[in-house]
Structures are given as structure tokens and as C-alpha cells.
């Protein structure tokens, strides 16, 4: 229980930090961004009167001292008032995010799970076998694989499988002529479009998981309790899974935070390559259009989502490693 509370507390602090960073950063914008934004908005359509105020609060600018502005900023957030997006004027930022977030969540979420499972399993096997021919070749290959930038891999995959071999679509998350909905056609099309992006994530991330797990497996196998398990004549599978892998996987779970950060970063850029309608793609659009409200909103959502995922994994770790349950 102590563990759970401690973790919750930490993530609350981290969330608060994310919010505050979001508040402070716009200060870096040269000039008067609110005016600029309003001018551009007016160029696209009628601007609702309270928008100016919203923008000010959102960007932490305007009148009053820092503290009052901060409190009002938090107030905005609580009411989920992120302003109107410039890129998709006059759609509210929240709507934009609500539309594109699921795409990213599903794609990145599934691909991460696939990559992690594959990597950890392969790593366990590689660690168990220790030194057969294919294991020895696997390590340098994976080392190289982990150094490949996501977006370059995306480019290569796109080139190979969409240009040269017209196996997969060039861009998009779905066939634009289809209606968005839960129809079989649409889902099928969505899956079809998701193959290359998912493959990018899986291929790029599997190496890290594999190497980490393999190293831990090798050192776990040297532990006395594994030898004791052998001495007890337990079946090999039980030893490998229940005694070796079960202990070796712990650091991978603990280090999930860092890995997730990388995967998120990678997927942002990858979405750009595939023009995949997710949150990363829209972040870039926002950047290109100086769409500060959208940028702020997306940054916040990404941060909170990553924090949330990490909290879940940390809680999972507490469950998986009984030693943490003792209050230290």
C-alpha cells in the first residue's frame, strides 16, 4: 500500500511539473504571440470574443502577476478549455485531440506491446541458450537495429514495401474514401494502413528489449537459486520461465518508463513519415502552423498519457516483485 501511495504521489508531482512546464514555455515565444494568433485566426474566420482571453490564459500571458495567471491557467485546464486550433480553425483543440488520439493510442499501444513481448521472449531464449551460433549473430544485429532512427526505418520500409513493392499504402491511416465508423471495410482498411507503421515500431524497439532481457537472463542464470532449481530436478521449462525469466524480466519492467519515452518520441516522427493521422502528425502540423494552442494541448496530452502508462507499469511492477511490497 505504501508503495502504491508513493508511486501515485510521484506521478502527481510529475503531472504537475508537466503542466507547469507547459505554462512556462510559451514565454520563450518572441513577440506577442496572442496578437499574432488572433490575427491569423481572423484571417480564417470569425473569432469568438472570449478566445483572446482564453489564448492569453493558455499561454500564460496577459495581465496580472505570475501567480494569478498560473492559477487561471490551471483553471482553464480543469475546464478542458484549450482554445481553438489555428490549423483546423475553428475546431476546438480538445476535439482535434479527441479525433487523433485514438489512432495513436491504438497503433502505438499495440505495437509497443507486440515489440516488448517479442523482444523479451527472444531475449529470454537468447539468454538461456547462451552461446549457440544464431545467438552470437543475433547480438550484433540487434545492436545495429537499436541504433537505427525510427523515421529512417520508416522511410526505408515505406520505400521498399509501398513504392517498389506496392504491398502497402503510401500514407494515411485509412482509405480516405471510406466513411469513418465501425464497419468491417473501415477497420480492414485501418489495419491495412497500420501494418507498416506498426512494423516500424516493432522492429525499432524489439532490439532494446531483447538486449536488456538477454543480459539480465545471463546474469540471473548464474544465480544460486537457478542452480538450486536444477539440483532439484525441476523440468527445464519451469526453471527457464519460473525461476530465470521471472526474475530477469524485472529490470525491463522497471525500465519501461525510459523505453516508453523513446517509443513515443519515435512514433511522433514515424507518423510524419506515414502521414498517419495520429497525435504526432498533428503536433508537427501545429508546429508548422505556429498553432500554439494545439501544440500546448498535444504536449500536455502526450505527457499525461505517458505518465499514466508509467504509473500503470509501476503498479504492475509492485505486483510482480513481492519484495517491493515491504514498506521500506
Amino acid at each position: 500500500m505504501h508503495y502504491v501511495l508513493r508511486k501515485l504521489g510521484f506521478y502527481l508531482v510529475a503531472a504537475w511539473a508537466a503542466l507547469t512546464i507547459n505554462f512556462i514555455l510559451p514565454r520563450l515565444i518572441p513577440g506577442n504571440p496572442v496578437e499574432v494568433l488572433l490575427a491569423r485566426s481572423r484571417g480564417q474566420g470569425a473569432v469568438p470574443p472570449q478566445e483572446a482571453r482564453s489564448l492569453e490564459l493558455l499561454l500564460g500571458l496577459g495581465h496580472g502577476n505570475l501567480l494569478t495567471r498560473y492559477i487561471e491557467y490551471l483553471n482553464q485546464l480543469v475546464h478542458l478549455n484549450f482554445g481553438l486550433s489555428i490549423t483546423y480553425f475553428p475546431t476546438p483543440v480538445t476535439t482535434v485531440i479527441a479525433q487523433c488520439l485514438p489512432w495513436t493510442l491504438v497503433l502505438v499501444g499495440t505495437a509497443t506491446v507486440m515489440g516488448a513481448s517479442l523482444g523479451v521472449t527472444l531475449g529470454a531464449v537468447a539468454g538461456w541458450k547462451r552461446s549457440s551460433a544464431w545467438v552470437n549473430n543475433l547480438i550484433p544485429c540487434t545492436t545495429f537495429l537499436t541504433a537505427i532512427p525510427y523515421f529512417w526505418l520508416a522511410l526505408v520500409l515505406l520505400y521498399l514495401f509501398a513504392e517498389i513493392v506496392h504491398a502497402f499504402p503510401l500514407y494515411g491511416g485509412y482509405d480516405a474514401s471510406l466513411q469513418i465508423g465501425w464497419s468491417g471495410h473501415f477497420i480492414g482498411s485501418a489495419l491495412y494502413h497500420a501494418v507498416l507503421p506498426a512494423a516500424t515500431i516493432v522492429i525499432s524497439s524489439v532490439g532494446g528489449w531483447l538486449l536488456g532481457m538477454r543480459n539480465m537472463m545471463v546474469s540471473t542464470l548464474a544465480e544460486d537459486y537457478v542452480m538450486a532449481a536444477e539440483a532439484k530436478g525441476l523440468p527445464t521449462r519451469r526453471i527457464m520461465l519460473g525461476y530465470a525469466a521471472r526474475n530477469a524480466v524485472l529490470p525491463s519492467v522497471a525500465g519501461f518508463a525510459i523505453s516508453l519515452g523513446f517509443i513515443v518520441s519515435g512514433s511522433i516522427v514515424m507518423e510524419v513519415v506515414f502521414s498517419y493521422p495520429g497525435i504526432g502528425y498533428n503536433l508537427l502540423l501545429a508546429v508548422q502552423n505556429d498553432d500554439y494552442p494545439l501544440m500546448q494541448g498535444i504536449f500536455l496530452i502526450i505527457s499525461l498519457a505517458v505518465l499514466g502508462a508509467n504509473l500503470l507499469v509501476d503498479l504492475l511492477y509492485g505486483f510482480v516483485d513481492p519484495r517491493t511490497r515491504l514498506s521500506r
Partner: protein, 373 residues
């Protein structure tokens, strides 16, 4: 210069009691590496049913390696040298079972049912993320698949009670138990299938003296109740003097003396044994000077010429540096033509030129067979 003799091996025929349950003959273990280290050099010994055989020696004398060799747990870079044989005689009388060349499947079957091993650090020999009952279950499921969940649990609780641990602790994790409890749990797990042989490698070294006492008493009691044989490995000779029936003293990968405990304590034959006995105080005995043994053990990756202990031996003489002594039965004074000397009991073996008629007639007074004892 006499050529080195073929090493004889102590067998049951020269002693009075009991039949043999485990016999290791000419066991040698090498560690591969830049230079090959000969960790165990041509060791032969027998374990009799129901006895406690102690193996004592300094760190790195090869005793743990020997234990792993006997239980077929050697891992690379350690390697059992060909010519080693390890045989086991089950209690039902069926013939010798060759452990060294057993197939993996048969070995798995054999392990724990007939031979269990208690490792040095109980904390490390228990899976840290699994509860005790699951670990007991692993053992039962692997070797007694006919047991159902209830009987497994009952048996596990029985075992814990046997070692004085409250059965309710069955669902605990290893880190929730104290050091002594953990060690006792490990012993309980070792006895789960009523093995005939239990090998214990420094089972009490990591515990403080009081807990050590409890655990030792526990082991003694269990042995009396269940009648298994024990190979007890330790650097602490004083423990073995209490609990051991026979002792094997190891030095530099070889056995230098093998004898019943009472004999060794009364009159050690090998200078190294003498040194060991003198290096710890006797709690209730007479005060005497404590002496260590100067020098340090030889490097086992270099070829050894002559007796391995010679550089540190107070009684060394010319032959010691040139010829390696073989493990031979300790000669009775009748053989030496000196009937006035005290006759050592049968079943004593020693690897020392001082007791070899070919080299010297009279061992010095401090050692067995010496004129002043």
C-alpha cells in the same frame, strides 16, 4: 627416488560398519581458462548409509567443486575429467547407478528424490519472487505428480513443522523470513522427498553462532529420525568434530586425510590436520597456544611437484618436495616393527610420507603413530 604410486582408494572392505550408498572414484575436476586449473585432483571416497561424512579444508581447496562434481552440477568452465566415476547404490539393493554418465532425464528423476543438496546461501537458493508453497509445489509436481493440491500442501506443512517453522509461513516469500528460518526452510525442502543423501555445502556459514547451533541440532535430529546420509562441507573443523562420523580433510584439491572423527581429534596423522586442529580454541579444553599455518595454498593452475603441503609443513623433509604422497592406509605399528607404538584404528587413510614406511620409520611425536602418544 620412488615413482609416484597408483593412488589407492578407501573402500568399504577395510572398515567395519555399513554398506556404501555413494562412491566417488578418481574424481578430478578441471577449470578451463587461459590456464587450466586442477581444482580437484584424483579424489576417491565413499559415503556409507546413515553416516555423516565431513569434508573440511580452507577456502579454494576444492571441496565445493567436489560437491558439485558428485551431484553432477558442474557448469562450464568446470569440467569433470574422464576417468572420474561416481556411483550410487539405492537402498533397494539394485546395482550401482553411474551418476557421471547418466542421461539428463534420468538425472532429473534422480535428483532430489535420492540426492538433495543444501547450498551455502539460503537467501540465494530460494527464488526471491515466488512464495514458499509454490517452490515446494514445484518440487512435488516435478517428482511426485500423483499428489494432488491438498496432499502437497499437507506435506509442505509437515516439512515446515519438522524444521520448527510455523506452517502458516508457507505462503511467505523468502525475504519475509529470518536468516535462520530461511536456512531451515531450505533444509525442509531438501528433505521433501526423503532422499537418501543430502549434500550440505557450508549450510551454516552465513548464520550467527546461536542460529548456527539451532540449525545444526536440527540437522542432527532429522538425521536420527529419517536416517539419511550427509556429506557436510565446511571450512569450520570444529563443527565437523561435533557432527561428523568420518572426516575427510582436503588440501589443494586432494584428500590428505580420511578417518573417523574421534581418531582425527585424538591423534591427527597429517601435519595439515594438526595445524587445523590447533588453529581454533577448544571451548572446554585445556588452554594451549593458538597457531595458524604459515603460508598460503598453492596455485592449482601450475603443475605441482611433490607434496602440495610441503612448503608450509613443519615436518617436511627431502622426499616431500620431490614425490607426491599417495593416500594410503595408515600403517599399524605391527607393520612398522614397533609394537610399543599405539595402534591406530582401521579405516584411517593419510597422504603423507611421514607415515610411509618407504620413506621414514618414525613419524614425529605429535602425529598419530608417533612415539610419545
Amino acid at each position: 627416488m620412488t615413482p609416484p604410486t597408483v593412488r589407492q582408494s578407501p573402500t568399504a572392505t577395510d572398515t567395519a560398519a555399513g554398506d556404501i550408498v555413494l562412491s566417488a572414484q578418481h574424481v578430478s575436476v578441471d577449470y578451463d581458462g587461459d590456464r587450466v586449473t586442477h581444482a580437484v585432483r584424483d579424489v576417491s571416497l565413499d559415503l556409507r548409509r546413515g553416516e555423516v561424512l565431513g569434508i573440511a579444508g580452507e577456502s579454494a581447496c576444492g571441496k565445493s567443486t567436489l560437491a558439485y562434481a558428485i551431484t553432477n552440477l558442474l557448469r562450464p568452465p568446470a569440467r569433470l575429467v574422464t576417468g572420474s566415476s561416481i556411483n550410487y547404490w539405492p537402498s533397494d539393493g539394485s546395482g550401482p547407478v553411474d551418476l557421471a554418465t547418466m542421461s539428463t532425464d534420468k538425472l532429473r528423476n534422480f535428483r532430489w528424490k535420492q540426492l538433495a543438496i543444501v547450498f551455502q546461501s539460503a537467501m540465494n537458493s530460494l527464488n526471491p519472487v515466488t512464495s514458499l508453497d509454490r517452490q515446494f509445489n514445484d518440487v512435488f509436481k516435478a517428482h511426485a505428480p500423483e499428489m494432488d493440491a491438498k496432499s502437497r500442501r499437507r506435506r509442505a506443512e509437515e516439512l515446515l513443522e519438522m524444521v520448527d517453522i510455523e506452517p502458516g509461513r508457507l505462503s511467505s516469500f523468502p525475504h519475509e523470513l529470518s536468516g535462520g528460518m530461511r536456512q531451515r526452510a531450505v533444509i525442509a525442502m531438501a528433505l521433501a522427498l526423503n532422499p537418501e543423501i543430502v549434500v550440505m555445502d557450508e549450510p551454516t556459514t552465513a548464520l550467527d553462532v546461536v542460529v548456527q547451533r539451532e540449525v545444526l541440532d536440527e540437522i542432527e535430529r532429522l538425521r536420527e529420525d529419517l536416517g539419511f546420509s550427509v556429506i557436510f562441507i565446511t571450512h569450520d573443523l570444529s563443527l565437523l568434530l561435533e557432527i561428523g562420523d568420518r572426516l575427510a580433510i582436503m588440501y589443494a584439491g586432494e584428500i590428505v586425510e580420511l578417518a573417523p572423527t574421534t581418531e582425527i581429534q585424538r591423534s591427527p596423522a597429517h601435519p595439515y590436520t594438526l595445524g587445523l586442529l590447533r588453529s581454533f580454541p577448544d571451548l572446554l579444553g585445556i588452554r594451549r597456544d593458538l597457531r595458524g599455518i604459515p603460508g598460503s595454498p598453492p596455485n592449482l593452475s601450475e603443475p605441482l611437484v611433490g607434496c602440495a603441503f610441503a612448503p608450509r609443513c613443519a615436518f617436511a623433509f627431502a622426499s616431500c618436495a620431490s614425490t607426491a604422497p599417495a593416500l594410503r592406509p595408515l600403517s599399524a605399528p605391527a607393520d612398522t616393527g614397533r609394537p610399543d607404538l599405539l595402534a591406530p584404528s582401521p579405516g584411517r587413510w593419510v597422504a603423507c610420507h611421514l607415515h610411509d614406511l618407504a620413506h621414514v620409520a618414525n613419524p614425529p611425536p605429535e602425529l598419530a603413530g608417533g612415539s610419545d602418544t
